[in-house]
């Protein structure tokens, strides 16, 4: 029996020359998966923890599908849904032998094979998370899950529930930096329904094919994710924005929040949009110095409701932009203390207050080329020494393109001198750097163009679009034929009425 199993396990060799044909690869992979699914878990457990262990025999990179089932069997045997720590055997705890294999597998599996075992992949990822939580150390799950996500889809741009679970873990453990590799990737597609014939019969559309866009093999039928809802997507973006806020990358945070604000809606907003809008107002102030107009694609009626509920925040932003009236922001911030605390935004509001000084000082560079520190302290208060210290911090951290000078002509004074030429000073960018930035941007734009094309393609597969095309062509045919034909009432029923695309659904 064991050798039978081994024969079966090795029966799928992705490197075989005849499998280079994508359709053939697809057919074999499918039948292999359905065969494996029928093998009882007991068979996999034979010889566990000995030299005959299946894990030793299988190569996780080459036999990824088989390896998945083997891992699955071990997990099922230990109880897939442990509630207590004592229910988890040592091997499966973080650091245990099977756990290590699982973690290694997440880093090394063959991404193409993994497209065929979506549900199993998802169960493995979920199990990692569950064990880590039950063990009280959710942090240990971050790295294997992230590796698994990146391995499956280099761009991690096809949204799955795993994205949401992952960012939740990161937020709970305050590992914002760890979340960046995933957050920095734009979510270019959401799981949609792709018609079955497209997936099975077309040479370039089967999961095993060389896709440019991961949305074509991670979709609602591939099993990599459960059904997602609006709230899932919004929560992902909100938590992502908070991670960026934690890292003080306010511009990214602002852009993330905007993704929530543009959620399509039938003229009403939900709680997540409200939360997002409040944070968006504050974060825009931190990123831009003022609140920009909302993206044009927002639903106006929904935003109106949200804005009505966010007046204190707008007042705060208004006070922030009055750069020459520093006490106003302070009093506004104090007045709304309870509101900020209730919304969990106290920290951001405090940040806003600090930031206003910084904006004030960087605004000085528009008016002055050099100014004694004592003059600044006349405007904003505080002693010269404190201010000097603060300015030193700002220049060191790269917020100001300026330097502090000490002049001792009549008496010693400290002077803040701004660099007028953008190509000079500590924040200067050379032409080469600029060019590189431009090239980088070009590349990003090209990638985005590809993603747009792919989204367009997916849209063209939807039922609505097909129906639209059908109607259009019918209309065109009617127009073309209109003059020549005898237009009697019976003409409406054309023999070609039957649904040409019906087999797609």
């Amino acid at each position: 029996m064991a050798s039978d199993l081994l024969n079966l396990l090795f029966s799928f060799q992705p490197d075989l020359p005849e499998l280079q044909e994508k359709l053939e690869y697809d057919r074999q992979a499918r039948s292999f998966v359905s065969q494996l699914a029928n093998v009882s878990g007991q068979h996999f457990l034979k010889g566990a923890d000995t030299s005959q262990d299946i894990f030793e025999v299988l190569n996780p990179t080459v036999n990824s599908i088989a390896y998945t089932y083997a891992l699955q069997a071990r997990i099922v045997a230990a109880g897939e849904n442990p509630k207590l720590q004592k229910n988890i055997p040592d091997q499966l705890r973080p650091g245990g032998s099977v756990w290590n294999k699982l973690a290694l597998f997440m880093e090394t599996f063959d991404p193409v094979q993994m497209r065929y075992v979506g549900p199993e992949w998802k169960r493995l990822v979920d199990y990692i998370e569950r064990v880590a939580r039950v063990m009280g150390t959710p942090g240990v799950a971050i790295s294997p899950i992230r590796a698994g996500m990146l391995r499956l889809d280099r761009t991690t741009g096809a949204f799955t529930l795993t994205h949401l679970h992952f960012i939740r873990l990161c937020m709970e453990t305050r590992s914002y930096v760890a979340a960046l590799p995933i957050l920095d990737n734009y979510i270019h597609s959401l799981p949609t329904t792709i018609p079955k014939p497209v997936l099975e019969q077309l040479e370039y559309s089967v999961p095993g094919a060389d896709h440019t866009n991961s949305g074509e093999y991670i979709h609602s039928r591939s099993g990599h994710t459960d059904k997602i809802t609006v709230a899932d997507v919004q929560e992902y973006y909100l938590l992502g924005a908070m991670a960026y806020i934690g890292l003080r990358q306010f511009k990214q945070a602002k852009q993330f929040l905007e993704h929530i604000l543009v959620t399509p809606s039938s003229n009403l907003a939900n709680g997540l949009m409200l939360e997002a809008y409040k944070k968006w107002v504050l974060v825009s102030c931190l990123a831009n110095g003022s609140v920009p107009p909302l993206p044009r694609t927002v639903n106006c009626a929904a935003i109106k409701q949200v804005r009505a509920a966010s007046r204190p925040y707008e007042a705060l932003a208004e006070a922030f932009t009055q750069i020459h009236n520093l006490p106003k922001l302070k009093s506004q911030a104090n007045a709304g203390k309870d509101t900020w605390a209730e919304d969990g935004n106290t920290g951001l509001v405090n940040e806003l207050r600090d930031h206003q000084y910084r904006v004030y000082i960087s605004r000085l560079s528009r008016t002055y080329s050099a100014i004694p520190v004592s003059n600044i302290s006349n405007f904003i208060g505080g002693s010269v020494d404190e201010l000097t210290h603060y300015l030193e911090m700002l220049t060191d951290e790269g917020h100001l393109n300026a330097r502090l000078e000490r002049i001792s002509k009549p008496e010693e004074i400290v002077v803040l001198r701004f660099f007028l030429d953008p190509t000079q000073g500590p924040l200067a960018k050379t032409e080469k750097q600029q060019q590189q930035a431009l090239l980088g941007q070009t590349e990003r734009t090209n990638i985005l163009a590809e993603q747009v094309k792919s989204a367009d393609y997916r849209l063209s597969l939807t039922k609505e679009y097909v129906e639209h095309v059908k109607r259009q062509s019918k209309k065109a045919a009617a127009n073309a034929a209109g003059d020549a034909m005898d237009t009697t009432w019976g003409d409406g029923v054309v023999p070609e009425e039957e649904d040409m695309m019906a087999d797609l659904h």
Binding site: H259, G344, K429
Partner: protein, 471 residues
Amino acid sequence: MDSNVEQSPFFQHQKAKGAIVVKDPPKFDLESYISNYDGAARLDRLHHIGASSTYLAIDAYRMAIAEAKRGKNVKLYLDLTEDFSTIAPNDPMASTDMAWAEQKNRAVKEEQDKLEHELKSYKNNLIKESIRMGNEDLGHFYYACGDWTNAHKAYYRMREHCTSNKHLADMTLRLVYVTIAQKAWMGAQSHLLKVDGSQLKGDEKTKLEPIVSACSGLAHMCTGNLLEAANAFIHTSPLYLTLEPAAGIRWQREVISGNDVAVYGGLCALASMDRSELQQQVLSNNDFRNFLELEPHIRRAISLFCNSKYSACLEVLEGYRTDYLLDIHLSKVLPTIYSRIRTKSIVQYFIPFSCVTLDEMNQKFQLTGEYASIEEELEDMINNNILDARIDLVDRLLISPPTNPRYNVHSDALAMAEQYDHTLRLRLTRLNMLSAGLEVRTDKGYNKEGTSTLSEGLGASLRGLGSRMGF
């Protein structure tokens, strides 16, 4: 006596109100100045000078009271004497002649009754021309009494009884005249447009054009549209100076004189045009030259500005500040005009330099009292994006910032690309959500329990997160 006038309750009150009070003697002679004007304009100007200049107050009020007594405007006479009695209580003119006032009031009332009665009988006879003239007489009468609103109404009622284009034009001119007296500039502008669009042809039309352009210049200036005012004034034909009365009004004596056109036009142009425009449209403008000859110092100021002698130009203008503050129309907009000219001079002065010391600036541009120091003034100009420069407070320099167009183009391109990129991403997200069937919508039942618990639970978890993040 001067100090008495200055300390008088009237001027104390004016000062407290924030009205303009001028102490220095002006350059003009009141007698000859006022002899340029007739009718309501004369009274109005005298009143304004009396109420603004401590130096001329007594003379101006005396003349105004004497003038008012000759007219029918009893209310104005009473106001004038009341003001005057607080300035110079011992002056013989200061005591109100109540007998005259009562008698005049009665006479006015009688005249009004008579005119209204006449109009009524014309209306019964249904003769259009008579009704029109009846209304016109009533309008003239109200105007003489200083009742602008009723005058306007009476003139306006003429409209449906006008039978020729000439009548229509005359009526509209009358309306312009009343609205100017009312200082209702918006109304004046709309009436002027109607005059301009009237169906008159040939001679009639050319006669009206100078009036329209002078009056619309005045209206634009008083509403603060200096560039439009300048354009209207400088295109006023010199015919204006010798024009015969139109609609029974001698415009150059009863509304604005040729000298006014020169001063108003010159100042508005200085405040709103750049050097080449001034050279081409003002100094080499044959029409306007005739006006400028009346006010040679305005011409001198403009040519000084064009020759980049800004401080000399400002000096000339400063010299006439008192005069212009006593001008009834100019006094309100004068600070704006002067500060515009000044800031423009500073900007123009700075253009050829890469660096100027603040002391030099201070010397070239004497402070006018608006700012405590030249630094503050420059600071304000920079902050308002009028002047492109940076101040070095340490070495006391005004520095022109270096420009690096190549760098700027690169960074602008980058910023723009990022912006577009992000916009596109937002749209793609939206499109994806739509195509995945994700939309915020009202599902009954689900919404009532589902979302509320969801958002509450969510709010709580966010709060927790917020505090944990230290944010």
